[in-house]
Structures are given as structure tokens and as C-alpha cells.
């Protein structure tokens, strides 16, 4: 049987969910949102793909091993705290700058956004390793990481 409705909805909704997750992550520093909810929202996109097309398809769409994704996110988040230490300020202090964007008073960018990006990846990676792990079935029991 080919669940047409499910496939169509998943194919339409997964990009929307990913886009919303990015919006949440980007706007999150000053208004509600942030890397954590963003990452969760992104994980729902892949979970939806998994329900519709099966575990291998969702894993393929993720491209990177979820544990590595989480590890990379952790590194990004930690790294975002290092530049202020070079200036002699405490770890994770925010450094902000304004990028000149024509037509506006500039785009505010800073290390906290890098931190949010890291958290986004950590949450997405961790949630996906749970979700994919639970869907794996009972053929493998030993945890395999970094494979």
C-alpha cells in the first residue's frame, strides 16, 4: 500500500518545519525561541519523514550521524564562548557587532547566535539519535556511536 496522503503531507511539511525551526533559532536571542526549541522543531521534521518513509530514508535525509551532529554542535557552542576569553572577559560573554545592511540600521550579529546554532545542532543530534535509536528495532542492542 502506498499512503499517498501521508507521503504528500510529509514531503510538503518537512521543509516548512525546518524553515520554522531556523526562524525560531535565529530570532531566539531577543524574543521567545532559541536554539533549543529550534532543534526540537527540526527533529520533528525528520521524525515526520521517518514516520512517512521509514527509518533509512530519514537517516539518509539527515546525512550526518546524529551523534556526530550533536558533538559538532557541542564544539560550536563551546567555541562561541572562547573569543571573549581572548579579550580577558569571562567565558561565554557576548560579543556583538552590527553588519551594515542597506536599507536598515544594520544587522545585529554576535557570539550568542553562534551559541544558539551549537545548541540547535546538539538538540537536533541528540533527539534524532533517540528517535532513530528507538526505531531501530531489536536486531541490535549494543550502543554504537561514532560509526
Amino acid at each position: 500500500m502506498n499512503p499517498v496522503v501521508m507521503h504528500t503531507v510529509a514531503r510538503l511539511m518537512a521543509p516548512v518545519l525546518l524553515l520554522v525551526s531556523l526562524v525560531l533559532a535565529v530570532r531566539g536571542h531577543d524574543i521567545p525561541g532559541g536554539g533549543f526549541v529550534g532543534g526540537l522543531m527540526a527533529a520533528t521534521a525528520f521524525a515526520l519523514l521517518m514516520v512517512a518513509f521509514g527509518r533509512p530514508a530519514a537517516r539518509k535525509q539527515l546525512r550526518v550521524h546524529p551523534t556526530r551532529l550533536a558533538a559538532a554542535g557541542l564544539l560550536v557552542a563551546l567555541f562561541s564562548g572562547v573569543p571573549p576569553m581572548m579579550q580577558g572577559r569571562p567565558f561565554l560573554s557576548g560579543i556583538w557587532a552590527r553588519l551594515p545592511v542597506p536599507g536598515t540600521d544594520g544587522l545585529k550579529v554576535g557570539t550568542p547566535q553562534l551559541f544558539d546554532l551549537g545548541i540547535y545542532l546538539v538538540v537536533l543530534g541528540t533527539a534524532m539519535s533517540f528517535i532513530l535509536g528507538m526505531a531501530r528495532g531489536e536486531d541490535t542492542t549494543a550502543p554504537e556511536m561514532g560509526g
Binding site: 550533536a70 558533538a71 557541542l74 564544539l75 576569553m85 569571562p90 567565558f91 550502543p143 556511536m145
Partner: protein, 501 residues
């Protein structure tokens, strides 16, 4: 390096190395060397932190520059710095022992990243300046320990990790309740801020109730009577390196948290907490050592000794005098090394005899004289025989009890010391002295080799015993200074809150 960088580096190093390790290809050598290098740097950072705190007093930093009590605070007094240094040294020991004993397929997996996360969590718990972050770091550490325990997924390990996990999580729930209640009552969780606000709250009974929640939660993490079941149920199942890491670090975080909370925050009802801690400590000592006397599995026996030694620490905390806290800190350091040495040696004997069952061992004294010596010294040290470190540590506890005129604790400590000696001699007699059992299987499994990688860490630990025994004076001096800081929270409060009244 600035003190604020020194304070955050232990966690950055460990977590960063864990993440980098997971990103490297799944082979043994990059992950092993990364872990080794991280532990070396952690030890160096710990030493620098200790020197800085010793020279310039308590150091604190506000993560992200958000001022206390609103932001996340990291604080290092002498006790924290000393424990971070010991954590680094133990991490280095355990990683080098793992490199020599574990199959490379396991080294290539998530083992080293998990060890690094665990060590990072422990350092975080020692350095954090507020209770919620203490809870978080304890969870980080426990999360890593759950996976480490179950990593080989053998049946007895899974059984052990279910017991360990369910009881630990129960403790975590109690801890979270305690943190929530305290936040509701005091409006802050920053330890220094609590030290200022709690005495003036006007709800002493509520504070006593909350402090009992903390007592139960941390006593469970420390493995104190009557909340220690999880420890002997689980510690004998993972590889020897993992057991060593657990025994060296996990329960100590519980003891550290008890010492921190009951010297800094809940000091107004000292009579009640001190009585409870003394009773708890005494019973922990006795039940632990009695459990050990009954065991014939080497690692189970040693696990029960962890409990019994935790009893000394909790009893010393219950006395709450300067000399008792000095004894607590000296004993803590001595006992991390002594217990680790014994667990490392138990792993080495198991490589030779292929068993942890004392009945089936024998004659190791003749076949492995060096190993025998490496067992003998920490065993005597743990039992408190001079001239090793255990003697001075135990003597300090007993003297503190005598000075506080608490004859029961002093007497219990002496008797438990004798029983410890007795059960250590049991291992000695069974594993090293007696003739090997007659009914050996026809074709015994080939013993694994004992290279420098196995014996080296054991030797290093034993050397610490001797050095800390012969040179006990500097350690006791340092412990005395650390105890002084614990008993005078003003300096801690000033370091965190600055000039704020």
C-alpha cells in the same frame, strides 16, 4: 592565565575533547591520545588553580559576565581546587590504565568521550557556585556513568545498571525537589547568596525540612547508610578501569556536596544535622565493613569498603570542628588514591587469574611478587597502618572525634579500622598467600600479560600512598587551610558577591 579562564577551563577541556573525540574517525588511537592529553591538561589546570587559590584566596567567575546571584557562578576555594587537581590525576591514571587493559574495539567506541563527559561533570560539580548547576553537573556525571556501566551490554551489567539507574534517579528527584523548595523559600540558589539570606528568612523549620531533603539526596549519591544499596549492586560489573573511575569520583561528589551545603548554607540548625550526620556516618562505617567481611568476590569486597570509608568522611563532617574538617579533606584525598590503587590491582590480578573470586585465586605472592607488593601497600594504607597515608588520615579523624569528646565515633573508627585490616588480610591470604585450589579446571584460560601500562598506574597510586604518608605534613597543612575556608564562609561570600552587603 586569568583566574576566570582557569575556572572555566576544566569543563571546556573535558566537554570539548569529548565532542572532538566523537568527531574523529572511530579508531582507538586518536580517541585514546585525545583523552590522555586532555587529562594531562586538566591536571595542569587543576594544579595552577590550586596554586592561584592558595596564593590569592578564593577565586570566582561569572559566566557570560552576568553578575551573581543572577548569572551562573563558578567558584574555587581550596577544597574545590584540590579536588579538581585530584580528579585530573585520577582521570589520567584511569585513561592510561584503560589504554593498557581494554580491547581496542572498545577504545574505538564511545568509551573515552564518556569518560571525558563524566570527568567534566565531576569538575563542574566541584566548581559550581549555585545549587541548580550542582544538580545539572551531577546529572551530566550520572548520565555518562549510566552508559559507561552498560556499555558492554552483558547481562549482569544491564541488571546492575537498572538498579543503579533507578536508585540514582530517585536521588535526583529528591535533589530536584530540594532545589525547588529552597528556591521557593529563599528566592535564590546561588550558594553565596543563600549563605547570606537563609539565616534571615524567619522560617527556620522550613529550612530544616529543606536541608533534610538535601541530606537524603546527597547521602544517596555518596553511598551513605541506609541509602547505599545501589553501590555494591553495580560497582563489580564494569571493567576494572571504570570501577576505579566510579569509586574515585562519583561518591566523592556526594560527600563534597554535603560538606559544601552544610558548612555554607544550612548552618543554623547545626545540632540536628550534626547528630544525624554522626549517626549516619557511624552506621555507614559499620555496615560497610561488615558487608566487606562477608564477601568473597574481590571487587564486591572492595565496593563495600567504599561505603565504610564514606562513613569516616560523613562522621568527620558531623563533628563540624576545624580539626574534623581537616581530617575529612586529608582522608578524602588519601582514600581516593588508596581505593583506586586497590581497584586497579584487583583488575591486574583478574588479568592473571581470570577471576575475581577469591576462592579460585592463590599463590600470587610467588608468581607475581611485584603485584603482591602493589596490593600490600594500599591495603595497609586503607586499613590505617603507619607509615602510609591512611594512618595519618585515620589518626586525624580519630583525634578530631576525641577532641570533640565523641567517644562512640572514635571507638567505632578504631574498630572499623581493625575490621578493614582483617578483610584486607583476607584478600591477602586468599589471593596471594594460600596454595592455589586443587580443583583448577584442566585447561585454565591463558592469563593476560601485565605490561607497564597495567602496573604503571598501580605503581603511581602506591607511590602517592607512600609520599602522602611520609610527607603528610604539607597535605594536612593544606587541608587545614581548606577547612578554615569552609568554616568561615565570609571569604566565599565576598569572593562571589563582591562588596555587596
Amino acid at each position: 592565565m586569568t583566574p576566570s579562564a582557569l575556572l572555566s577551563l576544566p569543563m571546556i577541556l573535558c566537554l570539548g575533547a569529548a565532542a572532538t573525540g566523537l568527531l574523529t574517525p572511530s579508531r582507538a588511537w586518536p580517541r585514546r591520545w585525545l583523552a590522555l592529553m586532555t587529562m594531562v591538561s586538566l591536571s595542569v589546570v587543576g594544579a595552577m588553580l590550586l596554586v592561584t587559590v592558595r596564593r590569592e584566596g578564593i577565586q570566582s567567575m561569572q559566566v557570560g559576565g552576568w553578575a551573581a546571584p543572577f548569572g551562573i557562578t563558578l567558584v574555587a576555594d581550596l577544597l574545590s581546587a584540590l579536588l579538581v587537581l585530584v580528579t585530573g590525576v585520577m582521570g589520567l591514571t584511569v585513561v592510561s590504565y584503560s589504554a593498557a587493559t581494554l580491547p581496542s574495539s572498545k577504545e574505538a567506541g564511545a568509551y573515552y568521550p564518556l569518560v571525558l563527559v563524566l570527568v567534566g561533570g565531576v569538575c563542574g560539580a566541584f566548581l559550581t557556585g549555585d545549587l541548580f548547576n550542582l544538580f545539572v553537573w551531577i546529572e551530566v556525571m550520572l548520565g555518562a556513568s549510566f552508559v559507561l556501566l552498560a556499555l558492554e551490554a552483558r547481562q549482569e551489567q544491564l541488571e546492575a545498571s537498572i538498579k543503579y539507574m533507578s536508585l540514582s534517579l530517585m536521588g535526583s528527584v529528591v535533589l530536584l525537589c530540594a532545589v525547588g523548595l529552597l528556591y521557593g523559600a529563599a528566592g535564590t540558589l546561588n550558594l553565596a547568596d543563600l549563605a547570606v539570606t537563609v539565616p534571615g528568612l524567619g522560617t527556620p523549620n522550613l529550612m530544616t525540612a529543606v536541608s533534610m531533603f538535601f541530606l537524603v539526596a546527597f547521602a544517596l549519591k555518596a553511598g551513605a547508610f541506609p541509602l547505599f544499596f545501589w553501590l555494591p549492586a553495580s560497582y563489580h560489573t564494569p571493567p576494572a578501569a571504570v570501577t576505579t573511575l566510579f569509586s574515585a569520583l562519583l561518591t566523592k561528589v556526594g560527600v563534597y556536596a554535603l560538606a559544601r551545603v552544610f558548612t555554607l548554607v544550612f548552618t543554623q540548625d547545626a545540632q540536628l544535622t550534626s547528630t544525624l550526620l554522626l549517626v549516619m556516618g557511624g552506621l555507614t562505617m559499620v555496615t560497610g565493613v561488615l558487608g566487606a567481611v562477608a564477601q568473597y568476590d574481590m571487587r564486591r569486597l572492595l565496593s563495600f569498603h567504599i561505603i565504610s570509608q564514606i562513613g569516616y568522611l560523613i562522621a568527620a563532617l558531623g563533628l563540624l570542628t576545624r580539626s574534623a574538617l581537616t581530617a575529612l579533606i586529608a582522608f578524602l584525598i588519601h582514600y581516593i588514591f588508596a581505593k583506586s590503587a586497590l581497584f586497579l590491582v584487583s583488575g591486574a590480578t583478574a588479568r592473571v587469574t581470570r577471576t575475581y573470586d577469591l576462592h579460585q585465586m592463590g599463590n600470587l605472592y610467588r608468581t607475581q611478587p611485584l603485584l603482591a607488593a602493589l596490593f600490600f601497600i594500599p591495603a595497609l594504607s586503607l586499613a590505617g597502618v603507619p607509615p602510609f597515608s591512611g594512618f595519618f588520615a585515620k589518626l586525624a579523624v580519630i583525634q578530631a572525634a576525641l577532641r570533640a569528646e565523641n567517644w562512640i565515633i572514635a571507638g567505632t573508627a578504631v574498630v572499623v579500622g581493625l575490621l578493614t585490616l582483617f578483610s584486607m588480610m583476607k584478600i591477602w591470604r586468599e589471593a596471594f598467600w594460600k596454595a592455589p585450589p586443587e580443583d583448577q579446571p584442566q585447561e585454565p584460560t591463558r592469563p593476560l600479560s601485565l605490561g607497564d601500562g597495567v602496573l604503571g598506574p598501580c605503581m603511581a597510586m602506591t607511590l602517592f600512598m607512600v609520599v602522602l604518608g611520609l610527607g603528610a605534613e604539607p597535605l594536612l597543612e593544606l587541608a587545614d587551610a581548606a577547612a578554615g575556608q569552609l568554616l568561615n564562609p565570609e571569604e566565599y561570600v565576598r569572593a562571589v558577591l563582591g562588596g555587596r552587603p
